[in-house]
Amino acid sequence: MELFTPDFGLVFWMFVSFAILFFILWKWGWPVIMKGVSDRADLIDKGVEYAQNAKQQLDHAREEADKYIADARRQQADMLREADRMKSQIIDEARSAAQSEAKKVMDAAKVSIEQERKQAEQQFRNEVSSFALDIAQKVVRNQMKDEKAQEQLVSSLLDEMEKQN
């Protein structure tokens, strides 16, 4: 039965030992460990979260880059097309400008030629008329040397006027 009767000395020392053990661990052991473990868990959680974010951002960045590249390509194509368009437009404009300029020159030339021609025609007419008048004078002088012929003419002219009226 001695096994079932607690010995006072052992009970006493057991209490003392446990009290000391508990005090030491309670004061310097467990709080440090618990805090350390939870801090480390937090750190790991944060690390995982960070890695996930980084991966997401990386994926996103790739997408973004692809988007930018595609954008740039499109812009490039747009610009090329625009340049092409502008080129032909400029050529067209230049052509039409040249045409209109040429036309203007031609028109001006035509006008001056016409004027010249008209002037020449006028001059020619004036000259022809003066020639004709001179010739007519000379003819008339020759024919109208006698009075009779003058009267005959006057009368014929008068007749003509009468007929007209």
Binding site: E2, L3, F4, T5, P6, D7, F8, G9, L10, V11, F12, W13, M14, F15, S17, F18, I20, L21, F22, I24, L25, W26, W28, G29, W30, P31, V32, I33, M34, K35, G36, V37, D39, R40, L43
Partner: protein, 389 residues
């Protein structure tokens, strides 16, 4: 696999050949000393090994032991002397008082007694540093060293993962904390975790120390009722000191039909009885489990000597079988050491958690039962408590 077969074959051959070889030598005259001493005093040896003593025995030597201080309060005050002085029935005179270790026939068998007028008188107080007390000190130092190494790691190495022993200890700490304390005590876990973890490691180290046969092990600590009693009393005190109003209300005025409380307060009596059966169960289960394990190993070893009377052949066979079985038992005891420490911690957690219940928890539990049969986490660890180990 191949290797296992080989090993077992080898063992079988040895088991067969050894007794045969011994039988062959039977013609030689048997050891004379054995016949003189007669039958082995099995009971005496078992109780000597399971019990406590002044001084710590060393292997292969029955005459010398490591002396430990004897501290007694005799009839004329305090006496402190070495246990070597009272070894082997010697009487020691300290001042006017005479001391000796009581013999087998005395009611104070194995304890230091004062001899007054030829009569053996038990000293008023005996707080000697016995083998078990010394074992407790060693266990305390080991626990402090193990836990402090983890704490130091956390202080100095910061967020680095611990390695080797530190890592192993930390793993066990977290195993107990996350597996037992946190799910049962929930938000109050941090308040009681220091006590529960300390208890766990203290018991575990004491259990394992008990399995080592030579100094600094060999003291049957957790197989001693005084040790388990103290631990159970501390759990009992913590449970009841920190208990909530609800806990006390459930004891004195439980939620049962009125005729169970009036005129005969059957339920309150049962509940009050229950307060004290809890620590008693804690005490006995740990004590009995560890003592049983030690006893089986000792008995198995003793079998060799008991059968020695029946001739060398039987002795040889018994030796092989006994050793195989006691090694097996010791390995099981390693497992049991952990399991018992775990169970003690778990039950303590549970008892403390019962003392922490407030009305809300009860309602929630009822609801949970109403909706589905899924056990709440607080209940889960209860299951092993019902089957006595």
């Amino acid at each position: 696999m191949k290797r296992n077969i080989f090993t077992s074959l080898l063992l079988a051959i040895v088991a067969i050949l050894l007794p045969l070889g011994a039988a062959a030598s039977e013609s030689h005259p048997a050891d004379s000393t054995e016949e003189k001493s007669g039958a082995v005093d099995a009971q005496g040896i078992i109780f000597e090994h399971l019990g406590d003593r002044y001084g710590w025995e060393v292997p292969f030597n029955h005459h010398k032991s490591i002396p430990l201080p004897v501290i007694v309060w005799g009839s004329d005050g305090l006496h402190v002397f070495s246990s070597a002085r009272v070894e082997h029935g010697a009487t020691y005179r300290d001042g006017n008082a005479e001391f000796k270790v009581a013999g087998k026939d005395s009611p104070y068998k194995g304890k230091v007694v004062e001899i007054i007028d030829g009569k053996e008188v038990k000293p008023t107080i005996d707080i000697s540093i016995t083998k078990n007390v010394c074992g407790v000190f060693i266990a305390v130092l080991l626990v402090i060293w193990a836990i402090m190494s983890v704490a130091r790691w956390h202080r100095t190495q910061g967020m680095k993962g611990p390695r080797k022993m530190t890592g192993a200890v930390e793993f066990v700490i977290l195993f107990i904390y996350d597996g037992v304390i946190k799910p049962t005590l929930k938000d109050k876990a941090n308040k009681f975790a220091p006590y529960l973890l300390t208890v766990f490691f203290f018991i575990l180290v004491m259990n394992l120390l008990g399995l080592i046969v030579i100094f600094p092990g060999g003291a049957n600590l957790t197989g001693n009722i005084a040790v388990t009693l103290v631990l159970a009393i501390i759990t009992f005190l913590i449970t009841n000191i920190f208990a909530t109003k609800h806990y006390w209300k459930e004891i004195f005025n439980p939620d049962v039909p009125w005729w169970l409380k009036w005129p005969l307060p059957i339920m309150p009596v049962i509940e009050i009885f229950g307060i004290f059966t809890k620590p008693a169960a804690l005490t006995v289960r740990l004590f009995a489990n560890m003592m049983g394990g030690h006893m089986i190993v000792i008995v198995l070893t003793l079998l060799i000597f008991i059968f020695a009377a029946m001739g060398p052949a039987v002795t040889g066979a018994t030796a092989v079988v006994s050793i195989i079985f006691s090694v097996f038992m010791l390995l099981i005891d390693v497992l049991v050491s952990f399991i018992q420490a775990y169970v003690f911690t778990m039950l303590s957690t549970l008892f403390i958690a019962l003392g922490q219940e407030d009305g809300h928890g009860e309602h929630k539990k009822d609801e949970a039962h109403g909706h589905d049969a899924a056990a709440t986490p607080a209940e889960a660890p209860k299951a092993p408590a019902t089957n006595p180990a």
